[in-house]
Subunit: 205 residues, 3 copies
C-alpha cells in the first residue's frame, strides 16, 4: 500500500470520527451519523481530486467509505461514554487535519503538480472536509474560528512537507514533517492560545 493511500485512509478514519461526533451533537440517527461521517471523511480529498482531475480516490476502492461507515456506527453506540464531545472533536480534528494535509500534498505531488500547487492542495484536503461538516449541520466552521491557528497550521504543514521532500527525499519524511508541524501548531493554539501576531479583534462594522 502506498504512503499516499495510507495517509488518505488514516485521515478518512479520524475525520469520520469527528463527523460522527458532530452528528451526535446534532442528534441525528445512525444513517445520519454515517452520512456526516462520510462527507467529512472524504470531502476534502474529493475536492482535491476533482481539482487535479484525478479519479476520485474513494470510488475505485470501497475501503475508505466502508471504514468511515463502520467508525460512524461505532461512534453511534459509544458516544454517550464521552465526558465532553466538543473537546474530543477539537483534538481529533487536529489529528485528522495533520494527516489530511500530508495526504493532500502527497497526492498532488503524485500528479506532478508544482510545489505551490501541492501546498494549496494540502490546505484544500485538510480544511474542506471539516468545513463541509460544520456548514451542513449549521455550526460556525472550526476552520474559521476567531483567533485560532487552523488554516495557518495547515499552510505551515504543507510548506514543511514540500521543504522536507526537497531536503530529505520522497516517502515518509515529507509526511512526518507535515503532520508534526500541523499538529504542533494546532495543539499550541488549542492548549496554549497561540495565535498569529498582529491579530487584534476589533468590533465589526
Amino acid at each position: 500500500m502506498s504512503a499516499a493511500l495510507l495517509l488518505d485512509l488514516a485521515s478518512v478514519a479520524v475525520f469520520a470520527v469527528t463527523g460522527a461526533l458532530v452528528a451526535a451533537r446534532a442528534q441525528l440517527d445512525p444513517v445520519g451519523f454515517v452520512f456526516v461521517a462520510c462527507l467529512t471523511a472524504v470531502g476534502g480529498g474529493t475536492v482535491r481530486d476533482l481539482l487535479l482531475d484525478r479519479p476520485v480516490f474513494w470510488l475505485a476502492d470501497p475501503r475508505p467509505v466502508a471504514l468511515a461507515g463502520a467508525l460512524a456506527m461505532a461512534v453511534f453506540f459509544t458516544h454517550h461514554l464521552l465526558a465532553s464531545r466538543i473537546r474530543v472533536i477539537v483534538w481529533l480534528d487536529a489529528l485528522a487535519l495533520a494527516v489530511a494535509v500530508a495526504a493532500g500534498v502527497a497526492a498532488a505531488h503524485g500528479t506532478g503538480a508544482a510545489p505551490w500547487a501541492q501546498v494549496v492542495m494540502g490546505v484544500v484536503t485538510g480544511c474542506l472536509g471539516g468545513l463541509m461538516r460544520d456548514v451542513v449541520v449549521g455550526e460556525v466552521p472550526l476552520v474559521l474560528r476567531q483567533g485560532e491557528l487552523y488554516v495557518t497550521a495547515a499552510l505551515a504543514g504543507a510548506v514543511a512537507a514540500v521543504a522536507a521532500r526537497t531536503v530529505l527525499g520522497d516517502g515518509w519524511p515529507p509526511a512526518l514533517a507535515c503532520a508534526a508541524t500541523t499538529f504542533a501548531l494546532r495543539a499550541g493554539s488549542i492548549r496554549l492560545g497561540w495565535r498569529l501576531p498582529g491579530f487584534r479583534p476589533r468590533p465589526p462594522r
Copy 2:
C-alpha cells in the same frame, strides 16, 4: 429517451418545484426563484456526474435547465394559492428524492460502477440537491432533520434498486423498486413518525 434520462428529467422537475417553493419562503424575486430551482434541480446530479467523471447531464441538453426555469416561473405566479407551503415542500421533496435516487443508481450503473458505488451515487444524487437548497437559503437541511428517515430512505431505495436489477433485470424494475422503497419510507416517516430503532434524542453536550 432512455430510462436514465427520463428519471433525471422527472427528478429535475419535482426538485425544481421544491426549490421554487423554498425561494417563495425566502421571498426572492422571479430570477431568484429560477436560481434556487435550478440549483436544487440539478445539484445532486451534477455532483454525481463530477464524481463519476461523466459529462454533466444538463450541459449537453438544454431541457433540464429550461424545465426547471419554466416550473420556477409557474410557481412564482401560483404559490400564493397554496394553503401550506411547508407541507407541499416536504411531500414534493419526498417524491423528488424517490425519483432522484433511482436516477443516480441508473446513471452510476451506466458507467460500470460497482454495486456499492451505485448505492453511494443514488444517495448523493438524491440528497445533495435538497441539501444545497437548504444551506443556500440558511434553513436547517431537511436531509439532516432529527428523528426522520431521509438519508435512510435514500439508502434503502438505492439498495433496493441494485437488488431488483440482480433479480429482475435491467430497465424499469430497479427504478420502480427504488422509487417505491424510498417514497414509502419517507411517507411513513412524515405521516406516521417512523424512525430508526435506537434513536433516542439526548441533550447535546
Copy 3:
C-alpha cells in the same frame, strides 16, 4: 494575454478584496483573510471549469492565487482605514460580479458551449464565489438578498454578452457589453432600489 484570462484575473482581484473584507467582519487572522479571499476569488471560476471539464484555471498558473493572497494581506493591514466596510463590500462585489460574468461567458464560449450554456456559465462564475464566501462565514448570501437585482443582473449581463458577440463579433465587445449591463443593473438596485416588477414581499408561511 487573452481577453478571457485577463477577465479572470480582474474578477479574481476584486472578489479577493471582497472576501478579505468579509474576513475582516468575521475578525479572522491574516491566513483566514487569505483563505476566504482565495475561496471567493476562484470559487465561481473553479465550479465553471469543473462543469465544463476544462483544467481549473488557477492550477496551471500561480498568478490568480498569488494575486488573491497579496490583496488579502493588503486588506488585512488597511481595512481599519475604511469608514464603512459593508458599503465597500457591496460596491466592489458589484464590480467583481460584472467582470466575473464576462469571464464566465468568455470561458464557456472558448470551449464551444452552446449560447444558452454560455449564459448559465456566466451566472455560475459570477454568483458562486460570492455565495461560497457568505455561506462559509455564515452571513445571508448577498446573491439571495430580498428585493435586490443580483442574479438578474448577472443573467442580463450574460445575455448581453452573447447578443453582442452575435452582432459585433468576438473579443472585447461582448465583455464590455456584459460588464456594463451587469454593473448598471446592480448599481441601480443598490443606489436607486431597482427591483423586478411584480416582486411583492408576502409574509412567509
